[in-house]
């Protein structure tokens, strides 16, 4: 079946090479024409930005003089996301297949596995799978640990870490496809994207599915593989339903957007469809807000986290996100003030697009969607009564 998680149960751990090949056959040969197949498949990146994979490959192919580098991005720094580590620890050969197809088509001289430091099961799965591969394939591969920070998963941060040991994003241009690892044209793909590409090479058609992490107030939190017709409501039902009433869902993780649960219920989780509505599938996290959680305080907490994750390279991001998070914190702790609401709206516009990377932009998208979705709550927030210790 043309699905990422087809085959043995994910609970059985990393699939062996024998099972993988028995199920899917050997990795088919792929030449330059595969880039056309990839472009027609409309596969987009699954790391969050949703960039067209075919376009990325074409850019690297144009610059590669048999010296391209493939970076397998398994940093997964998004706190609620689970899907990348699940894929690495259960279907490592699918990911490696994708990386080696890229290496062949783009005539790469190396493959770098970039795996989050906390994802030990994922790393073990990947390393065991690598040991089962052929000697020429193994010789291509090097590994690097991604620090458990939000920005470490950014393309340019991965390259910066590999080159100079600093996992902070850099300004672009130069783009990775121009000058990446060791100054070579570099293709950075999220692990799920590579697994999707491996299925495309096998079946000639894209799987049409995506991995979704359901988080928050559902009975069964975890990863689901869904097709593009599956709606937000379907996903919540598949995850065992909400615990009580849910006010809103966060679609796409912390760089995604809040939506009213009832309004979003029939919304299909399709990357293009969501984009046309000003939403984003992002990294595939669907966060369900619990009925007993205050939206304003939840937003304030996440804003505080995202402000702390700024790599302190650009003033507007470091100072701007801090100021925005503080304003959210004041509303959360002391109640709504008209000045702070005005500041949030004004500063959000002033911070957007003013960083070397998209950290401020993603945070602003999150905040602005919160200000719209939770407009009534933000307009009239009062401090919660805290119990005094007896």
């Amino acid at each position: 079946m043309n699905r990422l998680l087809a085959g043995p149960s994910p609970a059985a751990g990393a699939e062996s090479a024998a099972s993988h090949i028995g199920r899917l056959g050997r990795l088919p040969d792929a030449g330059p024409h595969f880039i056309d197949t990839l472009t027609q498949s409309r596969i987009v990146g699954r790391g969050g930005a949703g960039f067209a994979a075919g376009t990325k490959w074409r850019a690297v192919a144009t610059h590669s003089r048999d010296n391209a580098v493939i970076v397998v991005n398994g940093a997964e720094g998004e706190p609620q996301s689970q899907k990348d580590r699940l894929l690495m620890s259960t279907r490592p050969h699918l990911i490696l297949d994708g990386a080696f197809i890229a290496a062949r088509v783009l005539r790469a001289r190396g493959v770098m596995l970039y795996i989050g430091e906390r994802h030990t099961a994922a790393r073990d799965g990947m390393m065991r799978a690598l040991a089962e591969r052929s000697e020429p394939e193994r010789a291509l591969v090097a590994t690097q640990t991604a620090p458990a920070r939000y920005v470490a998963g950014a393309e340019s941060a991965a390259i910066h870490l590999i080159n100079e040991g600093v996992a902070t994003p850099t300004t672009m241009p130069p783009f990775p496809f121009e000058r990446g690892v060791d100054g070579m044209p570099t293709l950075v793909h999220n692990v799920e994207t590579l697994a999707q590409i491996a299925l495309l090479a096998r079946h000639g058609a894209p799987s049409g599915t995506s991995l979704i992490t359901v988080a928050g107030a559902v009975a069964k939190k975890g990863v689901l593989e869904v097709d593009s017709e599956t709606t937000v409501g379907d996903v919540i039902k598949l995850a065992g339903g909400t615990e009580g009433w849910s006010r809103a869902v966060l679609i796409g993780g912390y760089f995604g957007a809040w939506a009213d649960t009832a309004a979003a219920w029939d919304l299909p989780l399709d990357a293009t469809g969501l984009r046309n509505r000003g939403l984003s599938l992002g990294c595939g996290v669907i966060g369900v807000l619990a009925s007993n959680r205050c939206p304003v305080c939840e937003v304030a907490g996440i804003m505080h986290y995202l402000a702390n994750e700024s790599s302190a390279q650009c003033g507007p991001c470091f100072f701007g996100l801090r100021a925005l998070a503080d304003a959210c914190g004041r509303i959360s702790e002391k109640g709504t003030s008209r000045e702070d609401i005005a500041r949030l709206n004004r500063w959000a516009e002033q911070v957007r697009a003013r960083g070397a990377c998209r950290h401020p932009d993603g945070t602003i998208m999150f905040l602005q969607s919160a200000l719209v979705t939770f407009a009534p709550e933000f307009a009239d927030h009062r401090p919660h009564v805290t119990k005094l210790a007896a």
């Binding site: 795996i115 430091e117 790393r123 590994t143 690097q144 640990t145 620090p147 920070r149 470490a152 870490l161 040991g165 600093v166 996992a167 902070t168 700024s310 790599s311 302190a312 390279q313 650009c314 003033g315 470091f318 100072f319």
Partner: protein, 194 residues
């Protein structure tokens, strides 16, 4: 054009170049100090620094070209390009050529900053601190007007302006408000081996 007019132009343009260059250096130091007030935003410092630097080049071109074509000194274009190749006041003029070439390097690397990268640009920009004193010594050493009160006054004022701002810059130390948080962040994400 009469010879004396060329000569006056050379000297006048030289003096104006010195004043402009000094203003550019002081503005550069001010921008590295992130100096600002309610009526003087930082982009004003940066904009003036850049535009005055380009204007300096215009007066410098006038200064050099009038000196070269002046039949009295009979320098020739080679002397304007190769340091210490002039028969006329070899040493003092050579300093001028060096200051001029450093300045051209500064402007060219600034225009190409996006191409050569911030690190290379910054390294070259440090040469300002060599270019400016060399230019001052050249002006004083070569100058026909060295002992005239107005040039002495200009030189002293310029020297004091650059000296004071450079000294203040030294005392002020690092001024990047992001330096400490950035260091903290990088320390927290130090490279680890698998």
């Amino acid at each position: 054009m009469s010879n004396s007019l060329l000569w006056y132009t050379t000297r006048g343009a030289g003096a104006i170049t010195l004043v402009l260059l000094t203003a550019v250096v002081v503005l550069g130091v001010l921008s590295s100090l992130r100096a600002q007030s309610d009526s003087w935003p930082r982009f004003l410092t940066a904009g003036l620094h850049r535009n005055l630097a380009l204007m300096t080049l215009v007066f410098l071109a006038l200064h050099i070209s009038t000196a070269v074509v002046d039949p009295f000194t009979d320098l020739g274009w080679v002397a304007a390009v190769i340091p210490f190749s002039s028969y006329y006041r070899t040493f003092w003029l050579g300093l001028g050529v060096i200051a001029f070439e450093l300045l051209v390097a500064l402007v060219v690397t600034s225009l190409l900053r996006n191409v050569i990268g911030l690190k290379a640009w910054r390294a070259v920009h440090w040469m300002t601190y060599a270019s400016w004193p060399v230019a001052v010594i050249h002006g004083f050493g070569t100058g026909t007007d060295s002992w005239s009160a107005w040039l002495i006054a200009i030189t002293i004022i310029c020297g004091a302006a650059v000296g004071a701002s450079a000294l203040y810059r030294l005392i002020a130390g690092p001024t990047d408000p992001l330096a400490a948080p950035r260091t903290d962040f990088r320390a927290a994400v130090q490279k680890r081996d698998l």
